[in-house]
Structures are given as structure tokens and as C-alpha cells.
């Protein structure tokens, strides 16, 4: 039971607003020591797992290109481009991206989108410029919310699309865990039962994005009043 000590360390450290990497390292040591490992064994387990998990950080290798393109005017050009599409709103732009992201994830192309390669260079700046064009510059809080919505569209699309594709890690992990518990299933059946939730997630998030549009539009007079 003492191995559970890492969880209060984790939650407490985050609530106490210490640096997250320090909190996570402390939680790992507390858990390992609580579970009866000696300090060097914990350090080794941590090192091995960190090395095995390098694929998690692989997305950073696109940043030099993203940075170069940004400096050469990528965001200004995105702004011009979305300015020409008169019917575009923040919500419609993000619904379109959500649909593309979820469909491509559902056919196994999970690495087509992503926060580093699509949201930061293209989707977030486009969403911000649409906000500026349709609802006025707005305050920093509103721009932050629009950037956060761009990130959310990417994550929601990826999460609730990937489980519909048979050969991705998530479905195979589900099958493996069920198998380990003596339950025999086929990956295709698991993927099939992920589809209703995938559809529901798309509808729920798309409706929320349409409501965001309504809210951003309504907020215009107030924003003008704030700026007096």
C-alpha cells in the first residue's frame, strides 16, 4: 500500500505549484521507495523508462522549420489568406480542422496533424486572425481562449479518431489487456464499439464550437467598450 504515497506527492506538489518536472521526479522516488525498491533501483527504473519513452518527444524535431517559416512571414500570410474567406468564423475553421484530424486519425494517419507541426504554425494563427477580422482585436483573454480552442480541436480529433482504427496502439492495447484477463475479442470489434463515442465526441465538440462563434459575435460591443 505504501507505493500509493507517490499519488499524494504528485497532487500536493501540483497544487502547491512547484515545478512539474521536480514534482514528477519526487513522486517517482516516493513511489519506488514506498514500493520497497532501493534508491539506485528507482534511479535505474526511471532512467530505463525515460530512454524507452524518447518517441514521446520526437515531435520537437519539426521546430526549426516551423521557426524559420514563422520568421519569413508565415503568420502574416495565413492572416491574408483567411481574410479572403468571407464565410469563415473561428468555430467553422476549427470544426473543419476537427473533422480532418478525426477522419485522418480514424484511418491511421495520426501524425498528420499535431500541436507542433499544424496547430502552432497554421491553425492557431489562422484562428486568431479570424477572431480579429470577425469580432475585432479583442482582449488577450479572448485571444488566449481562441488559441486554446485550436489546441483542443487537435486533441479531441486525435483522441476520438484513433480508437476507430484497428492497427493503432490504443486498440491493440485494449485487446492485449482483455486477453490478459481471459477475455477473447477481435480488434475490429473493439474498433467498431469505439465508433459511437467518436461520433458523439465530434457532435458535442462541433456544437460547442458553434456556440463559441455565437459568444464571440455577441461579445463585440463589450470588447469595444472595454477598449475606450
Amino acid at each position: 500500500m505504501w507505493s500509493l504515497i507517490g499519488i499524494p506527492v504528485l497532487v500536493g506538489g501540483l497544487l502547491w505549484k512547484r515545478d512539474p518536472i521536480l514534482v514528477v521526479a519526487a513522486a517517482a522516488f516516493a513511489t519506488g521507495l514506498g514500493g520497497g525498491l532501493d534508491p539506485l533501483a528507482v534511479l535505474s527504473a526511471l532512467g530505463k523508462a525515460f530512454n524507452d519513452a524518447r518517441y514521446v518527444s520526437i515531435a520537437f524535431l519539426v521546430l526549426p522549420v516551423v521557426g524559420l517559416a514563422e520568421r519569413a512571414g508565415l503568420q502574416a500570410r495565413s492572416r491574408e489568406l483567411v481574410g479572403r474567406l468571407k464565410a469563415l468564423t473561428v468555430g467553422r475553421l476549427l470544426i473543419a480542422y476537427l473533422a480532418i484530424r478525426q477522419l485522418s486519425a480514424a484511418v491511421g494517419m495520426l501524425s498528420l496533424g499535431g500541436q507542433a507541426s499544424m496547430v502552432r504554425p497554421l491553425i492557431a494563427p489562422m484562428a486568431e486572425s479570424v477572431l480579429a477580422l470577425r469580432a475585432g482585436e479583442g482582449d488577450e483573454a479572448r485571444r488566449q481562449e481562441v488559441r486554446a480552442q485550436a489546441a483542443a480541436a487537435d486533441t479531441v480529433g486525435a483522441f476520438f479518431g484513433e480508437d476507430i482504427f484497428v492497427a493503432l496502439g490504443a486498440v491493440l492495447l485494449v485487446q492485449g489487456v482483455l486477453e490478459a484477463n481471459g477475455l477473447h475479442t477481435r480488434p475490429a470489434t473493439i474498433a467498431l464499439w469505439a465508433a459511437p463515442t467518436g461520433l458523439a465526441a465530434f457532435i458535442i465538440h462541433a456544437v460547442r464550437l458553434l456556440r463559441l462563434d455565437a459568444r464571440l459575435g455577441r461579445g463585440r460591443p463589450a470588447a469595444a467598450g472595454d477598449a475606450e
Binding site: 523508462a49 500541436q115 477475455l183
Partner: protein, 314 residues
């Protein structure tokens, strides 16, 4: 055969270039950033040769430099570089490098499967996508250098600029994955299983389903990873109670259980899916989580309703 290590080498070079750029910068003292990025480069380039304890020491060093080196906030001193001032000649060609990344990733994922050298596939089929992504980044960088013609050091400078913006959060997702592994070897799953088994009335399908789905979301919120929570909840409730005791559909239980875990991922500050965008888009992590809470809550309710409605075929 080309394996994922090829992609690690590309990532190692990116971090090494950022470290060199930070070390040589004259604007402000950037030694902690140079050490931090340098250590990540070492991990990517020679991590397999360090041994478990060596990697552990590397993690410890990264955590200390990352937490106490004052890494974040340096990005603000950047000004628009001379080569980029008033650069309008590219027009829409500026999108080409960025769009090349997904295009090459996609083409590579399919093409690598067909290319065989001496009977063996050229690229490890399991890791074709990641290798294709690395190739896409390299092709895109070459295209950007030809189109934009910045100074040769510009990719290193720009990579460092964005990485400095991310700061010590750059290693957090990987560290959380490592924490999950420590949880496993320390027996956290079994301990949690005992606690849950003691807390839930097991004959009411609605309560059990609600506890299973909400438990997946809650455990994922705490652990930061649905893949870590899933085996615990299936062993504690999914297999013994939902399937064996109440006659539930195992494939539906597995699929919907995992997707309930994703609802937890959407709202946890412990997951890379929220940490990385917050860092890249210059947002507090709470801002990303806040806009995802309603979707997560509604999908979780849908999941519980779906499993109650069709999960127990009689």
C-alpha cells in the same frame, strides 16, 4: 533496416544545434539552456549506450537544471532578424515547407512498406510513420532553406527560440511516461485494485458502469495516462464484474472504457497532450484544460449511457 533510432538521431541533432546556439549566444547568459538542451541531445544520440543507471543520472541532471536553471522567459529578448524584415516575396510558397511535413509523412508511411532491400523492408514497418515524420522534417527544412535563404545558422537559432519558449516542460511528457513505468514496478496498480474492490456495490449495473467509466477518467487524471489506468480498472471492475458477473459485452467494455480514460486525459495537467500545446502557444495550462472540460464531461456521460443501454445484451 532503418529503425526509429534514425529519427532519434535527427531529433538529437536538432537539440544539439539548439544547445550550441544557446551556448554561443551573446544576448543573455544562456548556460542552463545550453546544458539542458545538450543533455536531451545526449539522450537522443547515445541514450542506448548509457545503461539504465547512466540514463537515471541523466534524468536527475535534466530535472535539476530544468527546475533550478531559470529556463523559461528567455524567448522574449528575440527581435525580428534582419533576414526576415519585410519579407513578402514568397507569397503562398511560404506554406510549402510546413505542408511538406504531413505530405512526406503520409507518402513515406505508405511508400516505406513497398520498398525492400535484399528481401528485408528498408524501414521497420512498425516505426514507418515516425521515420517518415523525421524525413518530412528534413525535407521541409531543405525546402525552407532554398526558398527563404536565411543565414545558415538560422534553423538552429529558430529551433532554440521555440524550444526556449517550451522550457523545462519539454521533458515533462517523457518524464511522466517514466513515472508510469515506476508505478508498474512498484505495484501501484494492485494497491489501487484492492481499494476499488472494497468501495463499490457490485450488483447494480448502472453503479458499476458509472464507477468503471468515471474511475477510468479519474485515474487517468491522476496518472496522466489512460494506458496506465486501463489495466487497473479492467482487472478491478471490467473483467470480473461487468463481463463475468453481469454478462457485459467485453469489446464494448474495453473500447468505451479506454475512451472514458481519454476524457480524463483532456482535463489533466499531467498529460503531454495539454502540456505541449500550452507551452507552444504561450498559454497557461489551465486555459487549454478549461476549454476541454465540457467536451470531456459530456462524452463521459454519453459513454456511461451507451454502456448501460447496449452493453448488457441478454
Amino acid at each position: 533496416m532503418i529503425r526509429i533510432e534514425a529519427a532519434y538521431e535527427v531529433a538529437g541533432v536538432v537539440f544539439a544545434a539548439a544547445a550550441a546556439s544557446a551556448a554561443l549566444s551573446r544576448q543573455t547568459p544562456r548556460r542552463p539552456a545550453a546544458v539542458f538542451f545538450g543533455l536531451i541531445a545526449v539522450s537522443f544520440l547515445v541514450g542506448d549506450r548509457l545503461g539504465d543507471l547512466g540514463n537515471g543520472v541523466l534524468v536527475l541532471a535534466l530535472v535539476l537544471v530544468g527546475a533550478f536553471g531559470g529556463l523559461r522567459g528567455a524567448a522574449a529578448v528575440f527581435r525580428t532578424p534582419a533576414w526576415a524584415v519585410g519579407d513578402q516575396r514568397l507569397g503562398n510558397w511560404i506554406f510549402l515547407p510546413i505542408l511538406l511535413i504531413p505530405a512526406v509523412t503520409l507518402a513515406g508511411t505508405f511508400a516505406f512498406g513497398a520498398i525492400r532491400v535484399g528481401g528485408a523492408p528498408l524501414v521497420d514497418p512498425k516505426q514507418a510513420t515516425v521515420v517518415a515524420l523525421a524525413l518530412g522534417a528534413v525535407v521541409a527544412l531543405i525546402a525552407a532553406m532554398i526558398l527563404i535563404r536565411p543565414p545558415l545558422a538560422a534553423p538552429a537559432t529558430e529551433g532554440r527560440r521555440l524550444l526556449e519558449g517550451v522550457g523545462s516542460a519539454a521533458i515533462l511528457p517523457q518524464l511522466l511516461a517514466a513515472l508510469g513505468a515506476v508505478f508498474t514496478v512498484s505495484g501501484v496498480g494492485r494497491a489501487m485494485q484492492i481499494l476499488i474492490g472494497a468501495a463499490i456495490p457490485l450488483d447494480n449495473p448502472f453503479l458499476v458502469v458509472a464507477a468503471f467509466c468515471a474511475g477510468m477518467a479519474l485515474f487517468t487524471t491522476v496518472l496522466g495516462n489512460a494506458f496506465a489506468a486501463f489495466p487497473v480498472l479492467v482487472a478491478a471492475l471490467g473483467a470480473p464484474v461487468i463481463v463475468h458477473r453481469l454478462g457485459g459485452n467485453p469489446a464494448l467494455m474495453g473500447a468505451v472504457g479506454m475512451l472514458s480514460g481519454y476524457c480524463g486525459t483532456l482535463v489533466t495537467p499531467m498529460a503531454s497532450f495539454n502540456i505541449i500545446p500550452a507551452a507552444l502557444l504561450d498559454l497557461p495550462i489551465g486555459a487549454v484544460i478549461r476549454v476541454q472540460i465540457p467536451t470531456a464531461a459530456l462524452v463521459l456521460v454519453f459513454n456511461i449511457a451507451l454502456m448501460c443501454a447496449v452493453g448488457f445484451a441478454r
